[in-house]
Every structure is written in C-alpha cells, then in structure tokens.
C-alpha cells in the first residue's frame, strides 16, 4: 500500500479531535492520572497529554477488555435460555496518540484471536478501531522496539501516524485506507505536507539484540533446558503484573457469574506467570515452579508464536519490566540469551 503524507498544523489538532468526536467516536487517549499516564476515554481535547514515554498499562483493554461478556443466560425452573450479546453496541473507538509499539501489539493479539477459529468479540472490536499513532520523541532504557523489528517511527498497524516536528506541527502519514479516507474527509485539517524529515524528530533507540537471530536460539532444545531460567528467575514473584500490562499477552480465563439478575459467562485476563494457571484439581501442576512459568512467558513470545502464529509476541515496549516489582528486565534477559546461546 503506498503511503500518502500530509501535515497537520499544531493548532488544528483539536479540530481533528472535535470532528472525530462529533462523528460519534469514542476517543481513547493518554491522560495524566496522579503520577502516571493512562489511556482513558476523554471528552475534551485538553485532557490529552503527549508528555510521556509509556503508559503503565497497554491499550489492549480496548479490544480485549479485562472482562468480556460472552453471552447471558436466564434460568426459570428447569428451563435455560441463552441470550446473545448485542454486537451492534460495540462502539467506534479512535485510539489517539498511541505509540508504534502499542499499535503493533494489536497484531499479536490478532494472531492469537484469529488463527484457526475466529473470535468474533475481538474481531468486531478491532473493526471498529481507528488508530492514530504518535511517533516517539522520548524513550528510556526499558524500550527495545528496534530489537524486535519496530522503531519509534514505525507506521505498522496505524491508520494515521503523527510525528511532531520542531515547530509543533505534525507530519501525518496516511498508512491505511481508513487513514486516507479520514484525511480526505477533513481537508482543512490534513493539509499539504511540509518539507520536514520525520527521522529528525524521532528518538534513537539502541538495538540490544536482533529478534531474527534470537528466535532460532530460543527454539533450540538446549535453550529450553538451560540453567539460565532458574538463575534468572529466582527473584520472580509469580504475579500477573507483567502479563496484565503487556500489549500482547492474551491468556484468559472463562468464568460464570450466576447470582441474582446478572447471569453471564465471561472471559477475563489471566497469566501464565500465576501458579494457579495450569494446576489440576488433583494438585498436579505441569509447571510447578516459577522458572518454568517465566520460561513459558518468554518462550511463548519468542519461540512458539513465531513458529505457530508467524509473529513475534513482543513489541519491545518494556512495560513488563517497568511494572515488575522485582526488576525482572526482559530486554536484559533476551540480550543475554542472544549473546550466550
């Protein structure tokens, strides 16, 4: 797909926001909450911030909500009836100001939810997204997007990617048909491109390893059996923090709520890092100790998904490392594997 380039002047960004809003879109954008920046639904342009490196949580909640109701049911005496969810209620959402790593996270989720059988909840929500990405002008040393074939200006997956230039105006790359249509419908917002080079405004993210070389190493039997995993996960606590903040982690649980009027079956987030994830009622646990669970997390992303789903299950955002209470640094560990194995 050929890409068109336009620009948006700094004082017409709110026009873009207001037009999107007036067309009935919900806008999911980064806002400041206490000391953190989180994505949330916003009403006013002024609520939005672009002054952050990473939000604590990813935006996966927009297509893979913490809780997704799968259907409702009604029980009257011995009769049981199931009621479908009204999929037409799924709103059009514009994701605003999302960084390229988070954007590409949707691709991993797509790989999981649509390989083999298709998950309609995910697909419907995905269809209703418009993604307005924002290149990164800042990074920290948890970021490693360039190690996994992405970068601070990567357009992959965005409908429109904005890059803020020196004078505050934006370069707007129209990546998808959806993005192009959006620009065409707002000619006063998307104006003639300026003569700036996007690369001048991107942060430099050092490449720590190369996923092309790492993946075959992760797939080797010796890597699986290596004492590396025990040594490097002794301090891991076995919580779900890393998985829950990760844009690509998609493990879930299916549960029922069957009290009172709320009779629903739903799916909710789960994590392979939790001991309970694999345990049988008998007490037998296929992944008995934390090193096996930590290994599963990295193997799933860098050995199994590349083979099975043809994607790397990690976009190098570093959210897991920032969220980890005990400084388990994923980039550092991957780099070590790449160097030693």
């Amino acid at each position: 797909m050929s890409m068109e380039i336009k620009s948006i002047q700094k004082d017409s960004l709110d026009k873009l926001f207001n037009s999107l809003k007036s067309r009935g879109n919900l806008i999911y954008a980064p806002v400041k909450v206490k000391n953190e920046v989180q994505f949330d639904f916003v009403e006013k342009f002024e609520q939005i911030t672009d002054d952050f490196i990473q939000t604590t949580q990813s935006v996966k909640n927009s297509v893979f909500p913490k809780i997704e109701t799968l259907f409702k049911f009604v029980k009257t005496g011995k009769e049981v009836k199931m009621l479908d969810m009204d999929m037409s209620l799924i709103p059009e959402i514009v994701i605003w100001g999302i960084h390229p790593c988070d954007v590409w996270g949707f691709d991993s989720l797509r790989a999981i939810f649509t390989w083999d059988t298709h998950d309609m909840f995910f697909e419907k929500r995905m269809d209703k997204l418009t993604i307005i990405g924002m290149s990164c002008a800042k990074a920290d040393d948890y970021c490693f997007c360039t190690s996994v074939n992405l970068g601070p200006g990567s357009t992959k997956g965005s409908d429109v990617l904005l890059t803020k230039t020196g004078n505050g105006d934006y370069i707007a790359e129209l990546v998808s048909d959806k993005g192009k249509a959006l620009a065409t419908s707002m000619p006063d917002v998307f104006v003639q491109a300026v003569q700036s080079k996007k690369e001048d405004f991107l942060v430099v993210v050092e490449k720590r390893f190369d996923s092309e070389s790492l993946i075959p190493k992760m797939q080797k039997k010796e890597t699986f059996d290596s004492p590396f995993w025990v040594t490097n996960s002794l301090r891991c606590l076995g919580c779900g923090a890393c998985a829950y903040v990760c844009p690509t982690c998609a493990c879930f649980d299916i549960q029922d709520e069957g009290y009172g009027a709320r009779n629903i079956r739903f799916r909710c987030w789960d994590s392979c890092g939790l001991k309970q994830f694999t345990i049988h009622t008998s007490g037998h646990n296929p992944r008995e100790v934390q090193s096996q669970r930590w290994r599963q997390r990295l193997m799933h992303k860098f050995a199994y998904m590349p083979e099975r789903n043809k994607v790397t299950g990690c976009v190098g955002c570093g959210k897991c490392s920032r969220a980890c209470p005990v400084d388990m640094n994923i980039a550092e560990q991957l780099q070590e594997i790449d160097q030693k194995m």
Binding site: K34, N35, E36, T56, Q57, K66, I67, D140, D141, Y142, V230, S233, L234, R235, L237, G238, C239, G240, A241, A243, Y244, V245, D253, Q255, E257, F266, C268, W269, S271, L274, Q276, E288, V289, Q290, S291, S321, A323, P325, V326, D327, N329, E332
Partner: protein, 267 residues
C-alpha cells in the same frame, strides 16, 4: 557495608551457608534481590536507601529453598518476617542465618533469633510519616466517605496479585481467592470484588504485617494497599498492645486467647 560483605564471604567459604539472599545492583538504577552462592560474588552485595524489598518473601519459595542452607540480608522488617515465619512454623528456629541491618544502617551479626528479639525490643520500624498522615486522614473520614475512598482507590486494581506475591506473609499454598467451593471472591477484577479481595487480605494480615510496605510498593498501578494492613497493625496494637514479629515465643495475636483480652471491639 564491608563488614556485611566480609561476613557473607566467610559464611560461603566455610560452607556454613549455601546461599545468601541480599540486594544487588539492578537495571536502570534499580536494585533487586540477588542470590549469592560463591564467595567471589559477595562483592555484589549492596545496601542503601533503595534496598526496600522484603527479601523474606523468598524464604518460602521452593526454588530458593532448594539452594540449601540460607542466609538473608535483613533490615528490620525482614528480621520481623523471620520471626513470624518461625512462629508460624514455616522455617525452623535459627535455621536461616540472619545478617541484620539495624535502623541506623549498621551491620548486625546475630547468632540466634533470641538476639534478634533483643534487638527488636527497642528498634522496631514505624510506619513512614507520609503513610501515618494518610492513615490518620482516612481514619478521620465518616464510614460513607471511607467506603467511597476505598471504592475509588481499589477500582483500578487489575488483580495481578503482585501485592500478594510480594508479601512474605502471603505464603499460603492456596490463597482464599483461589478457593472456588464456594467462590468467596470473584476471579475477575470488578469494583466490589476488588474491595472484597483487599479487605479479605487485610484481615488475614491483621497482627501479622511487618510494616515493610512491599505490597503497596509492588502494585504496578500505585494503589496504596499497604495502608490497609498498616491500619490493621495499628488496630491490633491499640487493642492488644502487640506488634507482629517481635518474638517467636508467642503465636500471632489474633490466634491467641488471653484472659485479659479486651473484648469491647466485638460489640
């Protein structure tokens, strides 16, 4: 710090212990737990203001226990953890070598747990000032205000259980959130369910919390759940005049009955 490193080195050289759980330099200016198994690595041990994690959490982790005889670098909350774990029969008295770090940051070479008890009689950690203020503020609220405060504060909880996993007192093989017959606490994160989860946890820590603050510190969303367990410590102190983990001679306050216990709080 040199005395700590020297002691560590000597313990490993003499094979008195197989592994020392301590603090190491981590990534991006962080410190993290290190598991030192050779005398040469003792150099990596550090201790400074950043070393706040309660390392006692590792004393009940299988893969750490498998390393052999353990020693642990122990600021005051870790000392208390060792004593609680002892009277709760999770570790055997004097089995884990305690390399104490006093409130003043000085290395303390304890021979046995009785020495720790002695030290703690007049060197117990207090809640940090800012937490004290917050607890006062919350305690001064009306019941309705307090409910709203916790409802709002706990709403974003994603139930990642980092708080539980970080807490050395949360060592249960099967946590109550994992019991499903009946399902006391909902599995998913939900507004009321989150409150049930955290209040249940606070109840189970009443009279057992060491005041390390790790539960709150671990939360990726910055939810101050430690205020709940801190408050429970205050309640236990007010009613029973006891603090957790100062002795191994008495089991936890809420599992002990004394004839002179005040019962006014049951009203």
């Amino acid at each position: 710090m040199d005395s700590l490193r020297r002691k560590a080195q000597q313990l490993l050289e003499s094979k008195e212990v197989d592994c020392i759980i301590g603090y190491n330099e981590g990534s991006s200016g962080n410190v993290h737990a290190g598991f030192i198994t050779t005398p040469g690595q003792a150099e990596k041990l550090i201790f400074d203001d950043r070393c706040k994690q309660n390392l006692g959490v590792y004393l009940t982790k299988h893969e750490v226990m498998r390393l052999g005889k353990l020693a642990i670098v122990a600021p005051v909350p870790v000392m208390r953890t060792v004593l609680i774990l002892t009277y709760e029969c999770q570790i055997v008295e004097n089995s884990v070598k305690v390399l104490g770090i006093g409130l003043d940051g000085q290395f303390l070479d304890f021979n046995e747990y009785a020495d720790i008890e002695k030290y703690l009689t007049d060197h117990c950690n207090e809640h940090p000032e800012e937490d004290k203020k917050l607890i006062e503020k919350i305690s001064a609220m009306s019941v309705e205000e307090r409910w709203d405060f916790w409802h709002e504060t706990l709403k974003p909880c994603i139930k990642c259980f980092a708080c539980r996993q970080a807490c050395p007192m949360c060592y249960c093989v099967r946590c109550q959130v994992e019991c499903n017959q009946p399902q006391w606490i909902p599995v998913q994160s939900s507004e009321l369910g989150n409150m049930e989860w955290h209040f249940m946890r606070a109840m189970h820590l009443a009279g057992r919390c060491t005041g390390c603050g790790d539960c709150g510190r671990s939360c990726p969303l910055g939810i101050p759940v430690h205020l709940l367990t801190f408050k429970m410590s205050d309640v236990v102190l007010d009613n029973f005049n006891t603090k957790a983990g100062l002795t191994i001679k008495e089991p936890s306050t809420l599992s002990t009955y004394k004839a002179n216990d005040k019962e006014t709080f049951i009203r």
